[in-house]
């Protein structure tokens, strides 16, 4: 499955590529308007990560071009502009999502995963990982022993972890994902601990190994393959 990263800052697009390149994702890069236009015309992508300010042109023109050619590629705009007008404009032009810089990599991965699920797996909205299975339509989570009854926050957290499996995710990124960045809590992320603890407990009860590991001082890592049996 191919992802196109259109971003003029090479350092940033390298990070995005490195972070997203796992399993069945292949990332291609475009650093300016013309390069991006060429790639967009030649190939189809599962998801295009699109920066608005590009050398030689505006990212929104690429979006318009895609839509006028009836291309089904999912589009995630990443932009430094965080005004509501810009967001509304981007989404009205047919983008699937809008993420403001500076973003957390896990957030980007979660949004890309959501877009790809919506676009590419129409009808098939189940995720199966090891002993864990998720019905994204019904929001039902099952383990080997049956259904795990998750709260909305716990469910969101699980989907977020799945999009970032085998990656260390910071507490800060988790807080921003679940509560948004409007809540300015002074470096105190203790309150997410309760949610993590409950999620782990419920998954264990449902018959899944303990997939979630605390990474000292940093955050958490969800790794289904390495899950230790309790």
């Amino acid at each position: 499955m191919k992802i196109l990263i259109i971003e003029d800052q090479q350092e940033l697009s390298d990070s995005v590529r490195d972070y997203l390149s796992h399993e069945n994702f292949t990332c291609e890069m475009a650093y300016d308007f013309y390069g991006a236009m060429e790639k967009v015309h030649l190939y189809d992508y599962a998801c295009i990560i699109l920066d608005i300010n590009l050398p030689h042109g505006n990212g929104l023109s690429i979006l318009k071009e895609l839509k006028s050619n009836n291309k089904a590629d999912g589009v995630l705009i990443i932009s430094a502009r965080n005004s509501l007008d810009d967001k509304v404009l981007g989404l009205n032009l047919g983008a699937d999502d809008y993420l403001t810089k500076p973003f957390h990599m896990p957030e980007l991965a979660a949004r890309v995963a959501a877009i790809i699920r919506r676009k590419s797996f129409e009808g098939r909205n189940r995720i199966v990982l090891d002993k864990l299975s998720l019905d994204l339509q019904e929001k039902i989570v099952k383990g080997a022993n049956g259904r795990a009854d998750l709260t909305k926050k716990e469910y969101d957290l699980l989907v977020y972890f799945i999009a970032n499996k085998n990656k260390v995710v910071t507490k800060e990124a988790i807080v921003e994902h679940l509560w948004g960045d409007s809540i300015d809590m002074a470096d105190n992320y203790d309150f997410i601990y309760t949610h993590i603890k409950n999620l782990r407990k419920k998954l264990l009860q449902a018959g899944c190994p303990d997939y979630i590991h605390a990474v000292y001082g940093m955050g958490y890592k969800f790794s289904p393959a390495e899950g230790r049996r309790q």
């Binding site: 940033l12 502009r81 500076p102 973003f103 300015d184 940093m218």
Partner: protein
């Protein structure tokens, strides 16, 4: 005071003074002329009387039919000249005291000297003056009335383009592309004014766009390196073999990046608010908004052991929903971040008054500096000191009045609108 009123006041004052002066001087002049005329009459009678005496050597009998009153009395000596003067004396005809002009002179008759007084009533003159005064007053009145009416009608019509232009300027909002339209006027001054106003507005619009562009560019330029740093750090922590020391270094770098990007966002927000870029005003049900916010914050408060009580009566406010959201976030974040362990937060909402109070440091904020940028009550905290100035800025564009009270160890912010 309106220009028209000022203009009228000065004009009326000058007009009244000029009228009074002219009435006064006309009165004096007429008086002078009439008295001279009368004196000439009296002198004529005197001369005729002297001629009569020289011819007949006797004094003429009283002129019963004439209005002049003539009296003779013996005098001790000869007077050099005739003496004219104004007197008040008894009028035999009208049977009351009256103003008279009289001439007194002496007439030598053999070995006697007679003092002769001829008095002529000034009745006619009196009536004349009265008529004169009335005519003047009525003329002044009519002139002033006509002046006021014409001015009122004429000036209102003449000044109409001015008021239209002002009205157009009042409706002019920066950042709204509706172009400024002034009414067409043939008055040179107003045409000039409209042209100048239009130019100033266009310039302001241009500057505004430039500024907006600059802010956006500045934001872009800063956000991109921030994104890069954050992404690199996030890649770094994926490494398997980070030591505990390295982890701690990365963690503090993360914290600093977070602070930096929050600071950048806050500064941008302040610029945007003062640029009035949030002008999608709506009627907002504040009680519902607060209820939602409380839901979002509840978990944080549970973890930090903060007791929250709220009394929300239905209330609406006309404002930008985005700004109200930011305002509530900042208020509740402040109330939680500057709280003490096991502290409390009280939120009360009445129809036009919102108050948020929280326990905190037993030291009031400096009311003069608390709303300035980068003000920090407690120096050690990780906050950027922009929260309250954002609140202040939002209050200014939303016409909220913020007040701060401190009592015991409770800090209370009250907003009225």
């Amino acid at each position: 005071m309106k220009l028209f009123t000022k203009y009228t006041r000065i004009n009326l004052l000058v007009m009244v003074i000029v009228f009074l002066l002219s009435v006064g001087s006309t009165y004096l002049l007429t008086n002078y002329v009439l008295i001279r005329e009368m004196d000439a009459d009296l002198a004529g009678i005197r001369d005729r009387l002297i001629v009569y005496y020289t011819q007949y050597h006797q004094l003429p009998a009283g002129h019963v039919l004439d209005e002049e009153q003539v009296t003779y009395e013996p005098a001790p000596g000869q007077m050099k000249d005739s003496e004219f003067k104004l007197v008040t004396r008894y009028s035999q005809r009208e049977k009351k005291m009256h103003n008279f002009r009289q001439v007194v002179f002496t007439l030598p008759a053999g070995d006697h000297v007679y003092k002769v007084t001829i008095a002529k009533p000034m009745e006619g003159l009196h009536h004349l003056f009265r008529a004169f005064l009335w005519v003047s007053l009525v003329t002044i009145g009519i002139t002033i009335l006509a002046f006021l009416l014409t001015n009122r009608i004429l000036l209102r019509r003449l000044w109409q383009p001015f008021y239209d232009a002002i009205h157009a300027m009042q409706n002019f909002r920066l950042g709204h592309t509706n172009d400024l339209r002034f009414p067409v006027t043939t008055t040179e001054e107003f045409a000039f004014m409209n042209e100048s106003l239009g130019m100033a507005a266009r310039k302001a619009e241009e500057d505004y766009l430039l500024l907006k562009e600059f802010t956006e560019n500045a934001s872009h330029e800063l956000q991109t390196p921030l994104s890069i740093i954050r992404s690199k750090l996030e890649m770094l922590i994926q490494e398997e073999d980070l030591s505990q020391r390295q982890s701690e270094i990365v963690r503090s770098a993360f914290a600093a990046i977070k602070k930096l990007s929050r600071l950048n966002q806050s500064l941008l927000l302040l610029t945007k608010i003062s640029n009035q870029q949030f002008n999608n005003l709506q009627e907002i049900p504040l009680d519902e908004r607060i209820e939602n916010k409380l839901g979002q914050f509840r978990e944080l408060w549970q973890t930090s052991g903060i007791e929250v009580s709220s009394h929300l009566s239905p209330a609406t406010i006309r404002a930008s929903p985005e700004l109200i959201d930011i305002l509530l976030n900042n208020l509740l974040s402040n109330a939680s971040n500057h709280n003490v362990p096991q502290g409390t937060i009280d939120i009360s909402l009445e129809s036009r008054c919102l108050s948020v109070s929280n326990t905190g440091l037993a030291e009031p904020l400096d009311p003069r500096r608390m709303f300035t940028r980068f003000y920090k009550g407690e120096q050690h905290t990780g906050h950027n000191g922009l929260g309250l100035s954002i609140i202040k800025q939002i209050c200014e564009v939303t016409t909220l009045r913020p007040t701060y009270q401190f009592s015991g160890n409770r800090h209370t912010f009250v907003f009225t609108w």
